[in-house]
């Protein structure tokens, strides 16, 4: 009965407010679910893909530069207890797909016992397929990819391997028995063909060990370790996936945290709606109290409404999030592919647990947001006490208390921003951002009150100013709800400003870095995937061709390989120090001239390290580092630390000649060409490409093209942040709409009175629209200030703690001002609907006397 009277009927009579709130919560949940789904899909494919593709293998033997083939022979003693299989796993590009694929090279004769792939019956018997694989550069293609590229057995498939154009023949189409998404982008070839394709003669990427039934894994691992040299690792396949997932964990955490702010705005909207609904039904609640309703019953009414909003908003949000995730996946794929080597998934699957979590979060957020309205509802006196009650707006907020609370939250934010990372995650810094948002919300009510005090009443002047002053007075009178709306706008603007500042600072820093650091005239690299990320390496033949054409003194091939530092994977890079020492072009943290740095490093066999490495391992200029590399340990003094925004796991760069003494020449990941003064880069590019002929699929970019490409990839990577900004702003505008309609309902008589005492329709509309604009403006100004502070935390703390990058703090002032203006205008436009409703009111009805 109570629920029907106080919740269902009002919702039926005025469904718009309820619906907008549900939509607001749904938008927040959708943003979170979409971001988590997309990033989980992209990341999970790297992690789960490892486990799935490893099949029944429980141990694997790996080494930084690959495992020498002869180690297979050393493991012969364990063959009675386990199956030992060689594997090569590399990345290649399928130009017709525009995307990277994993190429899995396996021993076809024994691998069926490790991985179960169901071959299509149409392609012939397994023996026929195996024959094609072994004799005709055959490849097995997953059914989903075959369908997408319209491939059948016998068709040719062009791939780019180490930038070399290669043609394979489809030997058969397979269907994975489970986890189809893990196999979505995997091509299977014979291990010998993989060795040929990737230049791994005599080496394989890993040896997988599958224990036979009943064999103790730990004992087997210990036995294998005893048989093998100490430079190789024997570990569970999951460890390899874990290393990848660690690298993207910070990325995922930050994206989720950002989407969480949309949810925060949604919570403010729920609180606004519930508070409004309680205030509007205050008289009715008071009558109910007089007639015997307990406080508990009134609390149940509020909680029921919050629950309904949470459940409906959560369900809609989870569904919306699934669609949003598809849109977000492209951006997240680019980001993840840039962070780790691999092939992120292309399909989204909403996990039931995420759906349940989304629903629960919506309910919890709604119930938490109901706290203050709940206090107001149960504090409603019986109707006899209501008339003698002092109006809420006469109870001046304790400005000192609010100011102290705001200052306390700001101090807390400052302290948290200085706290170190928690397990490599910027948890304290993000809590600092939350404290800043809290300060914004706390100060909204006294700010509105002060605004009203400073603005004289209607006698302060005439004409156009009167509606504005009346609007300020009305907002101050309903400031409890108005402050929620201003707070919601403020939070949304703060989010937009913070992200905008972070992205702009990052972008400007990267552009500067590219301008200073990218001095070569021509860059040559393998074709990139549609994600913008480079796939594989350049064949050494490309280097030799360039050296023949232009001379060794202008060629800087840049190699990368895997090494470990204190047990953690890092990238070991190598460049031609002698070439860079002549031309320079890298920004060093201590401001030294890069030519001087490289010349000294070359003389002393020293290394340069990137900033993420320096931060991750707390290493500085002059320190000595020890890396585990094939064949032992590499000890180098650190000559200098350079800024780098492309290798977040940390990179050490040594001279190429030193590098090639440790690692086999698998080809560089890119090649820079420093032409003599006066030479035409475009002509040089044409000369190189024509010398390479059609044999290699490479991109040769001129200096400006590469710098433009860097910015293009950057923009695509951060595209998702713009969507999150839009969601937050939309939710904030909904909050303003909710409050305005509520204020309109509350102030019907006042507006009717305005008409009766000489106010025109335009003035009445102006009063309502001005309230909307004022809410927007107050929120926008507060949001701008707090957003800049959060931006500072993101730029100076979160990025450093998450990725080890030092960025300059460069707010995009004009864009920020435009954002604040846009939000204010959006609120004003949103206010036109209630303004129109106010104009359509009939004063005679609203002024009808009781009794």
């Amino acid at each position: 009965m109570l629920l029907r009277t106080f919740f269902l009927r009002p919702v039926r009579r005025r469904p718009l407010r309820f619906v907008t709130t549900v939509v607001g919560v749904a938008a927040g949940i959708a943003a979170v679910v979409a971001t988590i789904s997309a990033s989980q899909a992209a990341v999970a494919s790297l992690r789960e893909g490892v486990a799935e593709i490893a099949g029944r293998a429980r141990l694997e033997v790996t080494a930084p530069a690959g495992v020498p083939e002869q180690l297979l022979g050393r493991l012969r003693p364990i063959s009675g207890d386990a199956l030992v299989v060689p594997v090569i796993e590399e990345i290649a590009l399928v130009p017709t797909l525009g995307d990277a694929v994993r190429v899995l090279g396996v021993d076809l004769l024994v691998d069926a016992q490790v991985r179960t792939l169901e071959l299509s019956a149409k392609d012939g018997t397994p023996l026929v397929v195996a024959h094609r694989m072994l004799t005709g550069r055959g490849v097995l293609v997953p059914a989903s990819l075959a369908s997408r590229l319209a491939l059948r057995a016998g068709d040719e498939l062009a791939v780019s391997v180490r930038a070399r154009r290669e043609t394979l023949t489809v030997a058969g189409v397979f269907t994975p028995t489970r986890f189809a998404s893990a196999w979505d982008r995997v091509l299977v070839v014979d291990v010998a063909l993989a060795q040929e394709l990737f230049g791994r003669q005599g080496r394989i990427d890993r040896i997988e060990i599958v224990p036979r039934s009943g064999v103790d894994e730990a004992g087997l691992a210990a036995w294998a370790r005893r048989l093998l040299p100490p430079s190789v690792r024997v570990e569970a396949p999951a460890e390899r996936g874990a290393a990848s997932s660690r690298m993207v964990r910070a990325l995922q955490f930050n994206l989720t945290a950002l989407s969480g702010v949309s949810l925060f705005v949604g919570a403010v909207l729920v609180a606004t709606t519930l508070a409004t609904s309680v205030v509007q039904r205050r008289t009715v609640l008071a009558i109910a109290r007089s007639l015997g309703s307990s406080r508990r019953q009134l609390a149940l009414v509020v909680l029921a409404e919050a629950l309904a909003i949470g459940v409906l908003g959560g369900a809609l949000g989870v569904a919306g999030g699934l669609f949003g995730a598809r849109a977000a996946l492209a951006s997240v794929r680019s980001t993840v592919a840039a962070a780790v080597r691999g092939v992120p998934a292309t399909a989204i699957q909403l996990s039931p647990s995420l759906a349940i979590v989304g629903l629960l979060v919506a309910v919890l957020i709604s119930l938490a947001a109901a706290a203050l309205p709940l206090v107001e509802a149960i504090g409603t006196p019986p109707v006899q006490g209501l008339t003698s009650e002092r109006p809420a707006f006469l109870r001046r907020p304790s400005r000192r208390r609010a100011a102290l609370l705001a200052i306390g939250l700001l101090a807390l934010a400052a302290a948290l921003a200085r706290a170190p990372a928690w397990h490599d995650l910027p948890v304290a810094a993000l809590l600092a951002s939350m404290a800043l948002l809290g300060a914004l919300l706390v100060s909204a009510s006294p700010v509105l009150d002060a605004l009203a005090r400073r603005t004289a009443g209607p006698q302060g002047g005439g004409g156009a100013g009167t509606p504005l002053r009346l609007a300020v007075a009305a907002l101050a009178a309903g400031r409890r709800r108005a402050s929620w709306a201003a707070g919601a706008v403020g939070v949304a603007v703060a989010l937009a400003v913070a992200i905008g500042t972070m992205v702009h600072s990052f972008r400007a820093t990267v552009v500067d870095w590219a301008d200073q650091g990218m001095r070569a005239d021509v860059w040559v690299r393998p074709l990139t995937a549609t994600t913008g990320v480079q796939v594989g390496r350049l064949d050494p033949e490309v280097v030799r061709t360039a050296e023949r054409l232009f001379g060794i003194q202008v060629i800087d091939p840049f190699h990368t390989a895997e090494a470990t530092m204190r047990g953690q994977p890092v990238t070991l890079g190598a460049g031609a120090f002698a070439v860079v020492a002549r031309r320079g072009g890298v920004s060093f943290r201590d401001g030294r001239d890069s030519r001087d740095v490289f010349a000294t490093a070359l003389r002393h066999h020293a290394a340069v390290i990137n900033e993420p490495f320096a931060n991750r391992f707390r290493v500085n200029e002059g320190d000595t580092i020890r890396l585990r590399v094939p064949g032992g340990e590499l000890v180098r003094a650190v000559e200098a630390v350079f800024f780098d925004y492309s290798h977040q796991q940390g990179m050490v760069v040594i001279d190429r000649n030193d590098f090639l003494r440790i690692y086999p020449d698998d080809g560089p990941s890119e090649l820079a060409l420093f032409l003599p003064p006066g030479a035409d880069p475009a002509t040089a590019r044409d000369t190189l490409l024509s010398a390479l002929g059609g044999r290699f699929l490479v991109e040769a970019l001129l200096n400006k093209e590469l710098r433009d490409e860097v910015v293009r990839i950057f923009d695509r990577t951060f595209a998702i942040t713009r969507a999150l900004q839009a969601v937050a702003v939309a939710v904030a505008v909904l909050a303003v709409l909710t409050v305005l309609f509520a204020l309109l309902g509350e102030r019907r008589r006042d507006l009717a009175l305005l008409r009766a005492v000489g106010g025109s329709r335009a003035q009445v509309a102006a009063v309502v629209a001005a309230q909307a604009a004022l809410l927007g403006l107050t929120g926008a100004v507060g949001g701008l200030a707090i957003g800049l502070a959060i931006g500072l935390v993101l730029v100076k703390v979160v990025n450093l703690q998450s990725f080890g990058w030092t960025l300059r703090f460069l707010p995009p002032w004009s864009a920020l001002a435009a954002t604040a203006l846009l939000v204010t205008v959006a609120c004003f436009v949103a206010g036109l609907a209630p303004a129109l409703a106010a104009v359509r009111m009939h004063p005679s009805e609203d002024l009808r006397e009781e009794g």
Partner: protein, 223 residues
Amino acid sequence: MEIVTELRSVTKRYRRGDELVNALHDVSFTLGASEMVALVGPSGCGKSTTLNLVAGVDRPDEGQVIVCGTDLAAAGEPALVQARRHCIGIIFQAFHLMPHLTVAENVALPLALDGRRDPARVDDLLRRVGLEHRRSHFPAELSGGEQQRTAVARALVHRPAVVLADEPTGSLDSASGAAVLQLMDELRRQEGSALLLATHDESLATLADRVIRLRDGGIEAVL
């Protein structure tokens, strides 16, 4: 005597559910400058409807409502606004003050809406209604009588030709009601405004120059 308000054969109907109710039927009367006319009759007889029509917040279905020379029944919105700004002052039974404006701000409201500013006039009226010391208070901080005195000052601040008062003492105790009525009559005489008073209290009507008795939407008698 100059006629400041005239109703000519005014009919007003309301729809209540499926039923069409005649709130006023063929009502005609005039109100002279500085004259006080009382509309009396039981609840639902059409008193408030008449006042709403004269205030220009409602329109008749038939007939003319001429206030200060303007037929409000045919006037467009700008003319209605001008009539309310310059010619009409309203006092309600429930005071209807803006709760978030102070006493002085409430009184100044009609001037402000017209783009005018006259603090001296506001102060003068506040002094005359005895609320000078309450000028910065909000309505919720006033007694009923004080609130209605504020409403009286507001109704007169722009020197209207006609003041409309709808049961102005209905929410007050008898002593406060009598005091407010006396003040209202005194001030409007000083200002030269006509007063159209709607009341179901026959004793209040004794102050009026003329009494129009309404019943079931029609004029029963003019006394």
